[in-house]
Amino acid sequence: MKKILLIPILLSALAFFTLFAFRDSSLGGPKPDADNVGLKLPEGFGALKVADIGAKARHLVVTPQGIIYVKLARVKEEKGIIVLKENSEGKAQVTGGFGNYGGTGIYMKDGYLYASSNKEVFRYKLNEKNEVIDPNNPETIVKGLKMGRQHETKSLVMDNDGNIYVNIGVPSNSCQEQDRGLRSPGIPGCPLLDSAAGIWQFKKDKLNQSYSEGVRYATGLRNVVGLDWNQQNNQLYVMQHGRDNLNSAWPELYNTKESAELPAECLYALKKGDNAGWPFMYYDGIQGKKIVAPEYGGNKKKEADPKYLDPVVAFPAHMAPNGLLFYTGKMFPEKYRNGAFIAFHGSWNRAPEPQKGFFVAFQPFKDGKPSGEWEIFADNFAGTPEKAAMNKADHRPCGLAQGADGSLYVTDDSKGTIYRIVYSKK
C-alpha cells in the first residue's frame, strides 16, 4: 500500500524537478561565472569567461550560430584568425584557425568575413552557417597600405551602402622632425597626412584596391583603433588615440601632471571631408578647447583654427580606446540602447602619475546624440587598482562585439581571455 502511494509522489516530484531545471536553463541562457571573471559590473550584470586563448586577441566577430572569429595581433602557430565554437553554457573551444598574418580588424557583413593585416584587407566567403568556405584563399580587397612601426593596425568597419572604412594610423606621435624628440619642431605641413593619419573609404567588393582607388574620407586622425558604424545616425564614429609626450618633448611648457591629463581621448562623428586637426592641434578636455600643438607654435593656451572638427565626447587622456560598439541589443536595460561602449586598453603615458583605463566605459546616447555623462561599465580588467595604476594589468580590454542575444563580448590582448557580459536581472 505504502509503495503504491510512493510511486506517483516520486514521479510527480521528478516531473516537477525536470520541468523546473529545464525552465531555469532555457530562460537564463549562459550563466555568469561565480566571480564574474574578476570584473566589477553594474547591478544585474554578470560575466563569464568564454575562453582563454593565450594569444594577443584584438577585434572579434560573434555569429548567431555561436562561432567566434578572433583576430590576433601576432600570428600564433601560423594562424592570425582563431575560430571558436560555443556550447550551450556559453563556454567556447578553439576549433581551428587560418590567415597567416597578424592584425587587428575583423568584421562580418553580407555573407563575408573581412579581416585586415597591417597592410591589407582580405575577405572570406561564408556559407549559410557563417562558416568560412575556403580559409586558404581569401580575396584581397585592399593592398599596399602604409605601415610604420607604431599605429600600424588597420581597424575596419562597413556602412550599409557597400563601403568599407579602414584606419591608416600615422607612424609618428606628433609629426616632429625627430619623432618624440626633445623640443623637436613639427615638419611644416606634415606630409605624412597624404597617405596616413586618417580614415580611407574603399568599395567592399572590388578587388585589389589601394590608395588610388580609395577615398581619404577623413583626415587629421593620429590613430584610430576603435570604430563603429552608428546605425541610428547612419554615420561613422571613431575613437582617436591622442598624442603623447607633452612633458617629455616640451618640459618648459607642460609639467608631468598636465602631460598626464592632456590631450583628451576623443570620440568623433565623421562626415566625408572632416579634418580632426592632428598634428597641428589637440583637444584639451579640461578647457574644452582646441589648442595649437607645441610643435606648430602652440603655447598651451593658443586656440587652433575653428575649422577643425570638435569631438562629440572627450574622455581622459592616454587611456587608449581600442574598441567602440554602439549597442543595438535587447538584453541590456533600455538606457544602453544605441549608446556607445568603449574598451579602454589602459594608459602608459601618464607616468609618473598613476595610469588610467583598463575598463569598458559606457556613453549613453539619445536621439543620435550623447546624453549625459559617460560612466565606467566593466572595471578591474587589471586585477587590482594598484596593478592598473602601475601599468601591470593582468588583462587589457581591446575588442568589443555584440552577441545575437545582446550579450557584450570583450577580448583581452594580454592573455587572450574572452569575456561575455550578460544581464540577468528581470
Binding site: 594577443k56 595581433a73 612601426r149 607604431q150 599605429h151 600600424e152 625627430q178 619623432d179 618624440r180 624628440g181 626633445l182 623637436s184 609626450n245 612633458n247 617629455s248 618640459p251 608631468t256 602631460s259 602608459w348 603615458n349 607616468a351 609618473p352 602601475m390 601599468n391 601591470k392 587589457r396 594580454s414
Partner: protein, 149 residues
Amino acid sequence: MNRVLMILLILTTGGIKLSAQTKGKNAPAAKSQVVTGAVMANGKKIYGQYCLACHMADGGGVPNMNPPLSKTSHVLGDKERLIKVILNGLATGEEIDGETYTNIMPPHNFLKDQEIADVLSYVRNSFGNKAGGISVGEVKAIRAKNIKK
C-alpha cells in the same frame, strides 16, 4: 673579433686608470665596475626626467610599445650597444628577447657623458638588474666613434 676584444680591454683598463687618477675629485662616476650611492642617486634623477615616461618607474616598460629594462639582454649585455641606444635612439623594430616594440626611442645624445654613464649604471643596477656600471670614459669613447659615422 679579437680586435673588438682588444679595444674593449683597452677601454676598460683605460677607464680604471682614469678612475684611479681622478679618485677623490670625481670618484663616483669614473669607476667602471662598482656603482656608488652617488651615481645611483644621480642616475635615478636622470631616469625620472628622461626615461620613466616610457619605461615606467619600475623599468617594466609597456607591452608591445616600450621595452622593459629589467633583466633584458640589451641592458645587461654589450655595453657599446647599450650606450648607442642612448646616443642614437632605437627605431629599428628589432626583437628584444622575443618581443617587438612599436614606439620609437628618440636619440638622447643631448645628455652629457656623465649623465649617460650615471643613468645606465643606475639602470644596470635597478629593477632586479645586477651588472657592472658604465664609466664616463666608456661613454666618451663610444660617442667619439659614433660621431664619425
